[in-house]
Symmetry: C2
């Protein structure tokens, strides 16, 4: 099936808002085996929207629109599409009741404007909005299916996942199964070169790589017309990938590194404390974004000054004088200090030079030490990261979290 | 001038990459007084790119493309545009020399593929790439100016700001001056309603509002054909905005709240330490993203457990037992503790319930206390934030930073 996505909203053309909806929908459609050939964005302008729609109906079997379903006069998506299709808008009573109930639930009364949202094309199908007021709409026009979704990403994503995805799966002649494998510590091009032969000869399952901020993910997708997905092919490719680059895999699901690591920590008997210098609290902030982590996470000391390294973490003055704040020795004493001061099983520390200032002749910007200590002993790792301050902080934080993850995997399993 | 943006790259249609280039370019073009009517994304497919280009040339005076200027066979932008325009590609020796020099600088040798990047349309103009290898291209076709930019955001943004923006400014009959005003503590709709009359009657200067994560910015833009920008109009609107909602303004420039606050702190005689509970290190991470802050920032104690609140911050056991960890009293003792333990002038603390767990009958998810203490005394602020865990953490962190900013503004000026 060929498809295209039309985003509607003047705020997108003014650059007020980054369009994340198209990337989300494109990834979802790819996973369903639906080809996306075009993304188009138009403003709240009836003529240009109509032109865009006419063109799309001629060249695509599926059109997904986002935006323009709101209650104000600027919201014109279904009005323009109905006019182009020669269809009337009719009041959809169940949607009106849902909108009314939505406002009652949040303790407000429905404004007359919102009634507009309950109108849908005469032979269209209303789609339930789990998180907002505007129903989505599915309608047919000249052998083309048009699906209209609301613009706010949280409403759109929930509606797509709960309502539209099952609809498209049912409509599709295929059964699609996909698996995401997530990697840390290997770049996209290095990963691709290690998997080049299976990427090149892919047909079913298909293999796609996605990269971002030091992480890579691979999605393996298999489809079948028989209704029986070829799970064996998916398992076989997973096995090959695991054999070749298994050491870099941290998840067989689309979860973040901090999420996987925090979940491991929560399920372990260990407690954690942190001592952060150049990352300034970033590791702490990432891990505490995961609900439930308070069970296992005791606290963090962000030691930006040497005072705090000595007074709160117990780093020896001689260590700082002899080796400097950015050194293997200081990292280890910081991790030990965090562990003892917070009475935790694991102490994890980061010290480094995030730049742009702070370099010395023998210590460049990007030099980072990460130490992990328990009562059984310490390990320390040296890294030299490239990039600006933010990139160095992010990479250092993710590497620290990955060392913690590897420690937990090793000690929980053994 | 009417314009449109064409993004080229199959990775965008697969959803591998979020398209941030169009938002950046749209905002820049709007600030130059150039209307953007369409964004289109197509893959690395010659036929569909050509169709898109023909359509764009017919309806727009300016087309900006991004992507497809790389060294591989997939990169087809200038080849397709030249074919459509009936023009040849010719080797541009200065670009070839620059590419060669680029590789020498990073200690690598130029691969034969990269020579392809030095070819430009016969009557096109090569645009210098400050951060990568592919030159940009400016060419004319049927009364339409086509500007081809590289796809990687850092290359594209630098090229636009350093080369294309001055080119468009010169080409434009207008002189454009704009000012960004940034707000914290007021929502976009509340701000719009307070400025409704001046937004409604805007013509020159124009006024646009942009919202994101608890912050709003207003851009005021004035243009003139005489070569003399009407600064007085811009000053007058700034004055009106300042009179009505000045209390929420934190910058007259496009800088982040943490940047403005860290700069204020660095320029002040004060030092800072933090005690974070529900924000888990986020305030610390935000402030330490700003270079140079180590001069004034001593450190942070992230006290996720009550132990650490008592042992490291010196919060009294009775306080925790009587009032709970999420209370005005605990917040104040945390801020006092951070200040004293780190030997800083200012102690800033946050304690609250980020959820989804942790609520009690009288303490809902989203309840947050923020305290700021100095040797002269303490202030404490209660907030009730709505949203999920991440949103509550972000809002709490930004409010804490804003209280610090207000303290610094008051005490530096007085």
């Amino acid at each position: 099936m060929t498809s295209e996505i039309i985003s509607i909203g003047t705020e997108l053309l003014l650059g007020n808002t980054i369009n994340t909806n198209t990337a989300f929908l494109s990834e979802q459609l790819a996973a369903l085996g639906i080809d996306v050939y075009y993304h188009t964005t138009v403003g709240d302008n009836p003529k240009r929207l109509q032109d865009t729609l006419y063109q799309a109906v001629k060249r695509s079997e599926l059109i997904i629109t986002t935006g323009g379903l709101g209650p104000t006069a600027d919201d014109i998506t279904k009005e323009v599409i109905c006019e182009a299709a020669g269809k009337r808008l009719v009041l959809h009573k169940p949607s009106l009741d849902r909108i009314d109930a939505f406002f009652k639930r949040i303790g407000k009364s429905m404004s007359p404007n919102n009634i507009k949202q309950a109108y849908i094309p005469e032979d269209g199908m209303a789609v339930y909005n789990h998180t907002g007021t505007a129903p989505g709409i599915i309608m047919e026009l000249d052998n083309c299916t048009i699906i209209m979704l609301p613009g706010p990403p949280s409403e759109m994503e929930t509606m797509f996942l709960k309502e539209i995805k099952p609809y498209l799966q049912e409509k599709s002649p295929y059964t699609i199964i996909s698996r995401t494998i997530k990697f840390f510590g290997i770049g996209e091009s290095a990963l691709e070169s290690k998997l080049r032969d299976i990427i090149d000869r892919q047909s079913d399952p298909t293999i796609a790589t996605y990269a971002g901020e030091g992480e890579v993910k691979v999605r393996i997708t298999t489809k079948t017309v028989s209704g029986q997905a070829k799970l064996s092919g998916l398992e076989q490719v997973t096995g090959v990938i695991n054999d070749r680059v298994g050491e870099y895999i941290y998840a067989y699901d689309d979860l973040s590194l901090e999420h996987i690591t925090a979940e491991l920590l929560i399920s372990s008997p260990y407690t954690l404390s942190l001592a952060e210098s150049c990352t300034g609290g970033r590791v702490s902030s990432m891990l505490t974004s995961v609900p439930g982590v308070s069970k296992s996470f005791k606290g963090t000391i962000v030691s930006y000054s040497n005072d705090i390294k000595t007074n709160l973490l117990g780093v020896k003055k001689e260590t700082l004088e002899t080796y400097g704040a950015v050194s293997r020795e200081t990292a280890i004493e910081m991790a030990e200090g965090a562990r003892k001061m917070c009475n935790a099983h694991i102490g994890l520390s980061i010290t480094g030079i995030a730049g742009p200032d702070g370099r010395t002749p023998d210590k460049p910007v990007g030099l980072v030490y990460i130490a992990l200590c328990t009562a059984e002993g310490c390990e320390c790792f040296e890294h030299r990261f490239a990039g600006d301050r933010t990139k160095i902080q992010i990479y250092a934080a993710k590497h620290a979290i990955n060392y913690l993850r590897k420690f937990l995997v090793k000690h929980i399993r053994s």
